[in-house]
């Protein structure tokens, strides 16, 4: 009964979404206030109905209602409760429901917090947002309905893919989807602005918090996915340049570019049409990502819904929205005349370079991802594009980005002086060069990757610190130090996020350059050495898990005679899904992870053991978290608190305050 109610609520939400996509738009066009005003309650209702539908599906999973087809194919009574819940979105249909839930949540949030928007703009934003929601409701209901019942319910379910029974999976999709879907807000704002024919500083200020929020979640989502792959897939890779990963990375790059160009719109009223285009592309690429993931058109290690019919439906959504948006853009963008005038050496130029590099690197990823498809369809060449290509083609742009970051961040608006900007940066540059050379000297025989990573990491992190310090103005050290903590949170956010980039760049380089590996047959009680660590296989036991059986090895890790940890790598077998998995055991450390994997038993009584030392692995995710933290700090700055202005001033704010310019 509850399942039917959920099903009904979802259909009702679809109907409301359709109405909300039309009525406020007509109202805004004709100037009918009641037609515009209706968008607000509609957005709220749409969200509540979808939330109910989602809760109903969750209920079906938690109570193991095996009359629902989706529960049968993705759940099992013996599965731990947390994975019963995460199983709701651990499959195609359920994840689409989560997707529309987040879409409607953003729509409702725009209604709740959009009190300070001009009435017509708000009506149009809500209408466009609802049009996006309506198309995904249609997709969910007509091609991927999660509420389909079974005619003959089986006694038990077929269990969730064991790889997905993991805390990483429980968290990764929701974060990623909030990011993906959050970009729809930037898209809705862009379309609404194009319809209005007006983009000004205020628009830039309204769009930024939404984009920033989406970006923060996308960052965390990607980091979680990478971390999950690192410990779950059994060889400690963190990024494979797989189509599905690229699908999340392209919107991230565009969102990052959008964040920066929206600043120029907000502060300087320039780069308007480019920013609009970026907002369209950012969401466009999250649709392309959805298409890649759901269509199974590109062979991916992560794909879970191979269905050409669904692919075509998403392709239609993509073509309709991108075609419409880009046409509208072509017609209207001329109207966005830029106001700001600035010199070639200025913050504006720095941000333009940032955008060029981010957009081009995203383009590289895009071309590499779809090239196998194009080559086969157009040129009849069956080929692959894999990590070696991406590493080679992508890295130069990111190196360039890291190299210009501290300089661009310190340049003043309008007209800058490179020599004066570089003044506080020279010591940082010298220091980072010194660190780079030192690393080069220590690591003898490795590639240039490590030293370059160290150089860039130090340059970006210290450069960000200098940036923050420079905001404290002039005067005595103690005074400046005191001022440091009274700086706007946006300033802190900017520096922290940039420092996060530095940490991540360093970690990626370090991990790739200095990772070591040992593969051998280990025997019980016979210690072996790797990279200064002594490892001893103490025991191998059979262990019974809740819904799996496990072969668990107990390996002691010692260094210089000092006991560090006992690690328990496992090989599990999930009988219901009939699937084996390897569970790596990791001793997380500040400068290195010890990563152990156990393999097959050998005829002579030994066991295959793989030992990895992964230097700076944790820095990678820490860097992403630091970036996200910077984003959060910036978001909490009172200037961007979307609702704050609404309560204090009844009229729409006139423009940004330039006092605490970044």
């Amino acid at each position: 009964m509850i399942v039917e109610l959920g099903h009904f609520a979802m259909i009702l939400a679809f109907a409301i979404a359709l109405a909300q996509a039309v009525i406020p738009l007509v109202g805004a066009h004709k100037g009918w206030h009641d037609w515009m005003a209706v968008a607000h309650p509609m957005a709220t209702t749409q969200f509540l109905l979808t939330a109910f539908a989602f809760a109903a599906l969750t209920y079906a999973f938690v109570t193991s209602d095996f009359s629902v087809s989706l529960v049968v194919s993705n759940s099992h009574t013996a599965k731990p409760l947390i994975y019963k819940i995460s199983g709701v979105w651990g499959n195609h249909e359920g994840s689409m429901l989560l997707w529309v839930l987040i879409l409607t949540l953003f729509g409702a949030a725009a209604a709740w917090f959009g009190g300070n928007l001009p009435a017509t703009l708000r009506a149009r934003v809500l209408a466009v947002q609802s049009a996006v929601a309506a198309s995904f409701f249609a997709f969910t209901i007509f091609t991927s309905n999660p509420f389909i019942r079974m005619t003959v319910p089986p006694l038990d379910g077929r269990d969730l893919n064991p790889l997905l029974q993991d805390i990483g999976l429980a968290l990764h999709p929701p974060f990623l989807y909030v990011g993906y879907v959050g970009l729809s807000m930037a898209f809705s704002f862009a379309i609404a602005a194009l319809i209005e024919g007006r983009v000004d500083a205020a628009w830039g200020r309204w769009v930024r918090p939404w984009t920033l929020a989406a970006w923060v979640f996308l960052t965390i989502g990607i980091a979680l996915g990478s971390w999950w792959a690192y410990y779950e897939l059994g060889w400690g890779g963190f990024w494979f340049w797989d189509p599905v990963e690229n699908a999340s990375f392209m919107p991230w790059l565009f969102a990052t570019a959008l964040l920066h160009s929206a600043i120029v719109v907000e502060k300087r009223e320039a780069l308007k049409s480019w920013t609009i285009l970026l907002a369209i592309l950012a969401f466009g690429f999250s649709l392309i990502g959805t298409f890649i993931v759901r269509s199974g058109l590109l062979t991916s290690v992560h794909a879970f819904a191979m269905d050409p019919e669904r692919g075509i439906f998403i392709l239609m959504i993509l073509v309709a929205f991108m075609g419409g948006a880009l046409t509208l853009f072509a017609v209207r963008s001329q109207a966005m005349e830029a106001k700001g005038v600035f010199g070639t050496v200025s913050r504006e130029s720095g941000l333009v370079m940032n955008n060029v590099l981010l957009a081009v690197s995203s383009f590289v990823v895009f071309v590499g991802t779809i090239w196998p498809l194009v080559a086969e369809m157009v040129f009849d060449r069956v080929l692959s594009v894999g990590p070696p290509f991406f590493n080679m083609a992508f890295t130069p742009f990111f190196v360039a980005l890291a190299a210009i970051l501290p300089i661009g961040a310190l340049l003043p608006w309008k007209r800058g002086d490179l020599r004066r900007t570089m003044q506080p940066l020279w010591p940082v540059l010298v220091l980072s060069m010194a660190v780079g050379s030192l690393v080069w000297a220590i690591q003898t025989g490795h590639s240039a990757l490590g030293p370059v990573g160290a150089l860039l990491g130090v340059w970006v992190v210290l450069g960000s610190a200098v940036d923050l310090w420079s905001r404290t103005g002039r005067g005595a050290f103690a005074k400046r130090f005191a001022r440091l903590f009274r700086l706007p949170r946006a300033d802190w956010g900017k520096s922290i996020a940039h420092a996060g980039v530095g940490v991540t760049v360093f970690a990626v380089a370090g991990l790739m350059a200095w990772e070591t590996e040992d593969i051998r047959v280990a025997y019980l009680g016979e210690p072996f050495e790797h990279a200064g660590y002594t490892l001893t296989l103490q025991d191998v036991r059979r262990v019974q898990g809740p819904n799996y059986t496990s072969t668990m090895a107990f390996i002691d890790v010692e260094r210089d005679g000092r006991f560090i940890d006992q690690l328990t790598p496992e090989r599990r077998f999930y009988p219901v899904a009939g699937m084996p998995t390897t569970e790596a055991a990791i001793d997380y450390g500040f400068i290195r992870d010890v990563y152990l994997v156990i393999g097959d038993p050998q005829d002579d009584g030994g066991w295959t053991v793989r030992t990895y030392i992964k230097p700076f692995a944790n820095w990678l995710w820490a860097g992403c978290i630091i970036m996200a933290l910077g984003g959060f700090l910036s978001l909490s700055d009172r200037r961007y608190r979307v609702a704050a202005g609404a309560r204090r001033q009844p009229t729409p704010p006139k423009g940004p305050k330039t006092v605490a310019a970044e």
Partner: protein, 160 residues
Amino acid sequence: MIRRGFAALALAVALATGGGAPGPALAVLPDEILDDPALEARARELTKELRCLVCRNESVDESNADFARDLRLLVRERLVEGDTNDEVLAFLVDRFGEYVLLRPQADGVNLILWVSAPAMFVLALGTSLVYLRRRRVTPEALPKRLTEEERARLKELMGD
């Protein structure tokens, strides 16, 4: 493409359900490793460049499929016989087609792929430089005076 997708899926399912294999083997196994560390290092480098044809987008180095193991052994065999890296790759392309290469060859239409990134960068850089130059309007070039209309509006606003 789609057909191959399904074939790969079917194979992946077959492998996942333990078709033949007793359990998840590890990618590179101890018995595969060559005695000569230099040769072994070259083998590892090479297998990272090769696609496991029966897997879903995994390299031969990472995959635990039987096919990947065969290819790893084959690569090592060739290296022991004294092939250069290029010869090994050419040999494999000859047998399995260029689909096996994860780094596409830079020839023919593939040049589009390889050149697209630098070309796009040059294009974007050029466009942005033109834009930046155009934004650098000197104050003199801006209209200095108000039009009659604006003057009237200003007066009205000032309340004179």
